[in-house]
């Protein structure tokens, strides 16, 4: 029994008739006027807590003994009665404090665990928004956030590759656009140049005929001069038109080669013969040499003649003294032809442009004789058609060598 538990009996006059546990010689000496005794004798429900005969707050129970008209009371000091509860309360408070610590710790670590990856995802998303698609977030967990990270990484990978593809496509389109623009520019330059090349001889023809018509009494030599000018420029115009048609046929792939086996040396001799008279008149030497008496080629003789006429004709315009030499060599798997001259040569800057359309160089040096600027483009087109190569070697003041190759055999 607890330290403060006491059971005692009071008679109907509410005098203690048993010994008090705490007060000596208490029998009949202590008047017990407490809510406990009041309730017991009036047979009412007593309060659980009340002040006992010593004035201390107690927890009590009462039982009325009707035969003796006594009341038996058992009381316990409220502090002792509630001592386990209070100890329990202390424990609870202690536990609550520990729990609070745990909660704070948990929230903090959970914050680290849940918020840190979300912050990382947010930062990564911002980087993606700014255009850097090579962002990957670390995936540290297996939960929804981990899944989100994996999905995010997949998304950035797809975005990165799609963006790269788009950029490449864009680049390609841009390049095509530039190409088209360049092509358009070239086309309009070409039209403008053709117009210039056609109008120039037309001007001379028109003006010389106009003057012939205006001056009825023009002396014969002057008349002849103007008529010759008109005829020469009509020829120039016809030549230009023929060349333009040839070139457009070559470029459109509409030129058919009529290939056959023949001796190239014979063809070269024929070409040289054709130039003998104008060469003699100009005081230059025209000659040929070959690595063998007969060099057999499989080619279109007409087209090959056209190439030689263009190349030798070109040299004729520029060479003032010296020679023009055509050579043919049979090499390993091809035949090499060279048209070399002792003309003024071509400067480094112009060398790459000689095969371009309407490129005319140094016609000052050619004594003002103008070509169409298409001859070499046609040569290149025809040699390309034969599956050969054509190029030029020259230096200003050192003469020029046009070289082309033809494949051997069939």
């Amino acid at each position: 029994v607890g330290k403060t538990v006491e059971t005692y009996i009071v008679d109907k006059k509410k005098r203690m008739i048993t010994d008090s546990r705490f007060i000596k010689n208490a029998i009949l000496k202590i008047q017990v006027e407490t809510p406990g005794t009041d309730a017991c004798f009036s047979k009412k429900a007593a309060p659980v807590l009340y002040k006992n005969y010593q004035g201390g707050l107690v927890l009590g129970t009462q039982q009325y003994l009707p035969d003796q008209q006594w009341c038996i009371l058992t009381e316990i000091d409220v502090r002792e009665a509630f001592q386990p509860a209070s100890a329990f309360r202390t424990q609870i408070i202690f536990l609550l404090i520990i729990l609070a610590f745990f909660i704070v710790f948990f929230v903090k670590s959970a914050g680290k665990k849940f918020i840190a990856p979300i912050t990382m995802l947010r930062d990564a998303a911002l980087k993606v928004a700014r255009g850097s698609y090579d962002v990957q977030v670390a995936n540290s967990s297996q939960d929804e956030i981990g899944e989100l990270s994996v999905t995010f990484n997949q998304m950035t990978k797809i975005l990165a590759s799609t963006t790269t593809q788009l950029r490449e496509k864009n680049k390609l389109l841009q390049a095509q656009k530039e190409e088209l623009k360049k092509f358009d520019q070239l086309k309009s330059e070409f039209v403008s140049t053709v117009s210039h090349e056609l109008r120039t001889p037309m001007t001379i023809i028109k003006e010389s005929i106009a003057q012939l018509l205006e001056e009825e009494n023009m002396p014969r030599p002057e008349k002849n001069l103007l008529l010759n000018m008109a005829i020469n420029n009509i020829n120039r115009l016809a030549n230009l038109i023929n060349n333009l048609l040839d070139l457009s046929k070559i470029e459109a792939g509409k030129v058919e080669l009529h290939k056959q086996k023949f001796n190239l040396v014979n063809l070269i001799q024929e070409v040289c013969k054709g130039f003998e008279l104008p060469a003699r008149q100009k005081g230059i030497d025209i000659r040929w040499k070959a690595s063998a008496e007969a060099i057999e080629v499989f080619a279109d003789p007409d087209k090959l003649t056209q190439v030689f006429l263009n190349l030798v004709g070109n040299s004729m315009k520029f060479v003032q003294k010296g020679y023009i030499e055509i050579s043919a060599l049979s090499e390993n798997n091809h035949i090499k032809c060279i048209v070399a001259d002792t003309g003024p040569g071509i400067g480094k800057d112009d060398l790459q442009k000689v095969f371009n359309k309407f490129q005319q160089f140094g016609h000052q040096a050619s004594g003002g004789v103008k070509g169409t600027g298409l001859g070499l483009s046609i040569c290149k087109g025809l040699i390309d058609l034969h599956g050969g190569d054509i190029w030029v070697e020259s230096e200003a003041g050192e003469g020029t060598r046009f070289i082309f190759t033809l494949p051997n055999g069939q």
Binding site: M202, I204, E207, N233
Partner: protein
Amino acid sequence: MAKKILIVDDEEGIIFLIKRRLVKLGYEVTEAHNGLDGITLAKQKHPDLILLDFMMPELSGLEACRMLKSDPQYESIKIVLLTARDQQKDKDVAKEVGADGYITKPFEPDDLIAKVKELIGS
């Protein structure tokens, strides 16, 4: 005193024919075959008018015109550009560089003479 005209063109035939016509009309005519020689002659002879071809080697007529028109000493020389291209763009550029006239090849002889007379008189 005869008015002086300089013809600058890389086409011998055109120079010959224009010169022949202008000389018959009493003009004193000199010739150059490219833009650079044209500039040199223009500075030497100080002509009243230059007939200047648009497309030429060495120095284009356009550049030659720009150079002369931007030099206070020679800006008073009348310049007529001759062109065989006939593009609006070229006409605009000719105006920009200060050319006093623009004639497209092949030209009507009367148009050329009228332009010359308009600019420097007979």
